[in-house]
Symmetry: C2
Subunit: 301 residues, 2 copies
């Protein structure tokens, strides 16, 4: 039995994985106890409650470094510094524990259980508040010598473009992410003299407005598809994977994004990659995707 | 004894490599005989003349596919179609023969004999008529599942930018290459109302004019440095190498390019790579670089 732990900004999900299915689940508050030590205690207790004979634990976390097992200054977690959660948990439970970043967990999850089964070269792109990525090269997760390879969200798409949270300008993530799409929508509303149809956060209100035919919302998806198509084609020109897989909420908005994206992606590819490199979406069950990815981290050596 | 063969558009260089040095050299005309069969015959004869007991042969060629040993429709070679030169040569000489593309040969050459010795993760960028690249990931040459990974020259730098020879627009190569620099220079001359100081091909006249302080020439190097800095930083965000090495004539123009490039490269890197990923130039002797790279192809399994 492998336990997968998916650490998010507010809640942390745990699951027991047998074969390719999650057979038991639990959830704790990420801020539990207020300190990394208290969080590790709570996590160890939750694992004990959930499963008896655990062979391995995989943890997917924002800014998780797989080479060191350390969560490094993750801006979306309640603790500002670095802490070695892999060692803290394996000390408490006496079980081998592998920690990695959430995008790498997603890549391993798709590779082992989802849309990347049987392939040797994959690129998984997570679309959420930001844009993350995990890359499999020749049957191995690409970590890089510093443990931080695969930051496609911070490839420059537009020189002197939009400011990015990283401090630079024009990053792919500043255009293609929940934050980026909301900015695009807001710019287009203002250009087009339109008002938002709904006053909610996230991308769903834009999708709803696009379904209603609102020009700014429709254009937001068209621009986003083009930007992402070019950005993905740029990354393909480096590792030439067999498949690029989109993971996360935005990609689940169905044809609104995916239909124009398929077109822009193929059109943006260099001819030697065109019609060879496929683009698809996650095939993991939405609620268990994070747990399965984390579990894959715990099983792949 | 390993023989390295460096196939260029007009002439093909052969060399015998012992240790890390080229101890004997020869050269034949690439168009020799007019057909691939005649070329293979001439090449085999030249290898026999040059060396006695050959253990392996490496061939670096434009559009060489290492997975198949085939030169595939290379636009700069005299033969339009595909031909399996690796098999043709090893049949004639009864020696194992590895063929790869010239940029991958350059990468292996730097890794084994040059500026990449002792590293596990490298990116070698060849600057010439076009912009090629060879990438080492975790101690292995990155070929990709189709044998065609690493086409950094065809990452889009500017959406809707300059037309590229590949048929798309805005590729890095359309800006950073001999052809790209000449176009930049010519646009700047026209903007600035200046005339070229010398009427010669290539990049040397631009370098000479820059040394003379001509604004258009100086600006050409500044723009090129910025574009290349951004392009390299984008590729670094995928594989996160320890070092990026520039190879080829343009990179040998000394500080004119390299000084502003070092600055733009570091400034364009995401903070987690900044001051960790180094940028340098080839450390192979200029005349033997192609032969050493090809020989490295012949020795690395």
């Amino acid at each position: 039995m492998i336990v997968g732990i998916d650490i998010g900004g507010t809640s942390t999900k745990l699951g027991v994985v047998q074969g390719d299915r999650v057979v038991a689940r639990a959830r704790i508050t990420t801020a539990r106890g207020g300190t990394p030590v208290a969080f590790a205690d709570a996590l160890a207790a939750a694992v004990r409650d959930l499963a008896g004979d655990v062979r391995g634990i995989g943890i997917g976390a924002p800014n998780g470094n797989q080479l060191t097992g350390v969560i490094e200054r993750a801006p979306n977690l309640p603790w500002p510094g670095d802490f070695p959660l892999a060692a803290m948990l394996s000390d408490r439970l006496d079980v081998p524990c592998t920690l990695g970043n959430d995008a790498n967990a997603a890549a391993l999850g798709e590779w082992r259980y989802g849309a990347g089964r049987g392939l040797t070269d994959l690129m998984v792109v997570t679309l959420g508040t930001g844009l993350g990525s995990g890359i499999i090269v020749d049957g191995r997760l690409l970590l890089g010598p510093f443990g931080n390879a695969g930051e496609l969200g911070h490839m420059t798409l537009v020189m002197d473009g939009r400011p990015c949270t990283c401090g630079r300008k024009g990053c792919l993530e500043a255009y293609v992410s929940i934050r980026g799409m909301r900015r695009t929508y807001s710019e287009l509303l203002s250009n087009n003299g339109e008002e938002p149809l709904e006053d909610r956060d996230g991308v769903l209100p834009i999708a709803a407005a696009a379904m209603n035919g609102q020009a700014s919302a429709v254009q937001t998806f068209m621009h986003t598809a083009r930007w992402l198509g070019v950005g993905l084609a740029n990354a393909v020109a480096v590792t030439a994977p067999q498949k690029v897989i989109l993971f996360g909420g935005i990609a689940r908005n169905g044809d609104l994004l995916m239909e124009p994206l398929q077109e822009w992606f193929q059109r943006s590819l260099l001819n030697i990659y065109r019609d060879r490199v496929r683009l698809g979406t996650s095939e993991l069950p939405e609620d268990d995707a994070g747990i399965l990815g984390a579990a894959a981290l715990g099983t792949v050596p």
